[in-house]
Symmetry: C2
């Protein structure tokens, strides 16, 4: 009798524990079901409704195409982790992640990682979180340093065969924090003719940049060598013991945002893809420019790609227009916080920006500050000014 009651009690306890375990697990690990086909249906349960709406808004022609693309993210730190998260939430087809670092509490001043992940490898922690967020994305993660000889070969191999169907990836994104790794990515992409984007944040945390590099067509990382590399200084000697760089979630979030925006514009063909976009947080200044490759670049593959590009350009006069350089429709926000679709056309926007000056070759203007139309006098009551004219004027107040 006593034994029977004990067995009964133990069985009840096992049941309770199993139920509680299921509850705790499901609270944290309930993944949504995979979605076969992106839908534009406007229901609360559709994670793609606000992305598919980009079609209705006239911004993107074929949003679903994003599922066919593969992007490699090298470096899953302050910029790379947010970059991977944005691409995951946008429903990218496949992500390859490369990093060899562990999550530390010292990383908690940037977005993405959480304190309970401290000690895990960054790629492992990132993959777990990203799968929870969007199980439709395919992940391939590599927990190694790409700059060692063996790993570099494997990295090259995955870049050239890591696509959804074994083809090369569509883009490589450099989100690393040191020159050695950047030069490794540069070398690999030059050899493979792989288009990639660079990103970086300064050690004082208040500036950053992104850059699109098309081997042979634009300057590679070795064409315009960073001073440290040019002077052959060992980075390690520059980093003193106990001195750490500053970082901010704001600057890194902005850099990840403009990086992934550039990726979306490049892959989905909308807007103007930037070749270089800087961010100076102290003054809210965003310089842009583009750089031609250096014919005497140290990297022989870069020189080969330059020759190949010249041949391609010569035989196919329009071959270089891979990326839609001019956006057909600009639904620009106006300056009043009006959030309905605006009627300002690109033509009008250009006009409002004033004339573009004569510049030395290879230099483009940061951003042209809109110039007021030469209206005579300051009285406006009797003029026939359009709304656009007024807005252009107000922009300057």
């Amino acid at each position: 009798m006593a034994a029977d009651r004990l067995v009964e009690e133990l069985r009840a306890r096992v049941r309770d524990l199993e139920e509680e375990l299921n509850r705790v697990r499901s609270r944290h690990d309930t993944r949504r079901a995979k979605i076969e086909k992106m839908s534009a249906e406007v229901v609360d349960s559709n994670p793609y409704s606000r992305l598919m709406a980009l079609k209705r808004m006239g911004i993107v022609e074929d949003y679903e195409k994003i599922r066919t693309y593969t992007v490699a993210v090298v470096g899953v730190g302050g910029v790379g982790s947010v970059t991977a998260e944005m691409l995951t939430r946008c429903g990218i087809g496949k992500l390859l992640l490369f990093d060899y670092d562990k999550v530390e509490l010292a990383n908690m001043n940037r977005l993405f990682f959480q304190p309970h992940q401290a000690g895990l490898s960054k790629v492992e922690a990132a993959e777990h979180t990203l799968r929870e967020i969007n199980p439709d994305v395919q992940f391939e993660v590599h927990n190694y340093n790409i700059t060692t000889i063996d790993n570099f070969q494997h990295f090259m191999d995955r870049i050239s065969k890591g696509g959804l169907k074994g083809e090369p990836v569509d883009l490589v994104l450099s989100c690393v924090d040191n020159f050695e790794a950047r030069m490794a990515i540069n070398t690999a992409c030059n050899e493979l003719g792989q288009i990639w984007m660079e990103s970086g944040v300064s050690e004082n945390a208040v500036s950053g940049h992104i850059q699109l590099i098309k081997p042979g067509e634009t300057a590679c990382f070795a064409c315009a060598p960073p001073l440290v590399v040019a002077a052959n200084i060992d980075e390690k000697t520059l980093k003193r013991e106990g001195v750490c760089a500053a970082s901010l979630p704001t600057t890194m979030g902005v850099v990840a945002g403009i990086l992934v925006q550039n990726v979306l514009k490049y892959l989905l063909h909308f807007g103007t893809v930037s070749y270089y976009l800087g961010y100076n947080a102290m003054q809210d200044f965003f310089p842009t420019m583009s750089m031609k490759p250096n014919p005497s670049c140290d990297d022989k593959y870069c020189r080969q790609q330059q020759d190949a590009y010249k041949l391609r350009s010569a035989s196919e006069p329009k071959a270089e227009v891979v990326v839609e350089e001019e956006s057909p429709v600009v639904h620009d926000d106006n300056e009043w916080g009006i959030e309905l679709v605006s009627e300002v056309s690109e033509e009008e926007l250009k006009e409002a920006s004033g004339p573009v000056p004569e510049l030395p070759e290879g230099i483009t203007v940061a951003y042209t500050i809109p110039i007021t139309k030469p209206t005579s006098g300051a009285t406006v009551e009797e003029t026939e000014q359009s709304l656009e004219d007024l807005m252009a004027q107000m922009k300057n107040m």
Copy 2:
């Protein structure tokens, strides 16, 4: 005997289940211990080392001061949630969160919320995640719509007494997605003389803005009324059934980033605080401007604040210089992606950039630092043409 073995087995099962339950629980709910005092020590376990490094880098004089500030975030959606996360990771003293929405799978195309949180209120889900990230921050969340009469009174009360010591909050951030809520915040801040920042993202997802509003000193939201309000159109009639706005994690991440960067610059006194910063993602164009208040603003509290500001300015000639308008030191990133502390002086950088071309007035070159002092000539900043003249004209169109 058989009964004994069964009891033994059941006991072992109970032990296993208890252990597993502890493992699963601790994996998800391990919070780090609270930290009494921010330290600059460079160890992996210090979540503030990279923020305190801003002092060593010469960017921020007194980073610890951030713990004394309280910020209210109204709207915890695509922009507000990331805004709250950035402030939490930066170690803000206290956050007040206001929202009345629930998390839906349809929100998963933006950062922050996770699928397993679907169905929870946004403020509840946000508070849970943010506490895990940084237990040093104090949270006060309100799950209601601030635009109803009762809630509006309570909102006003919390804004004016919600600080760490019962004082008014230091800043209110508007991260809402509709004009009614923006006007409610505007009304409250005008009445209270509360400095706040506005943010917004367009319905087509490819532009946004942030704006700093100092009642009486800069244009309030009613001074330059959005067309929808000016024309007295009901927003609801504009939003058709089944039509949803587009949104992107990129645009919202950038807007949250520039918003919180402006908050940090304002609270910690570094760099130039922007009065208005726009983001046009199609062309990577970032317009800035500032607007004077409208003397005949519809909001009587705005007019009162304008009078009060004039009195203050008259009695204390320097009173308006609350925010450091010109940054004394610009640690500008150079264009070569160098991320170590660069030895290149600003002089050398200018030289390396080559001659600055002759440019039309108001246009600056990509990588020279913009001159803030207005030059002679009829630049619009100096014109006496008032905003209300332009607005009056707009209303008549």
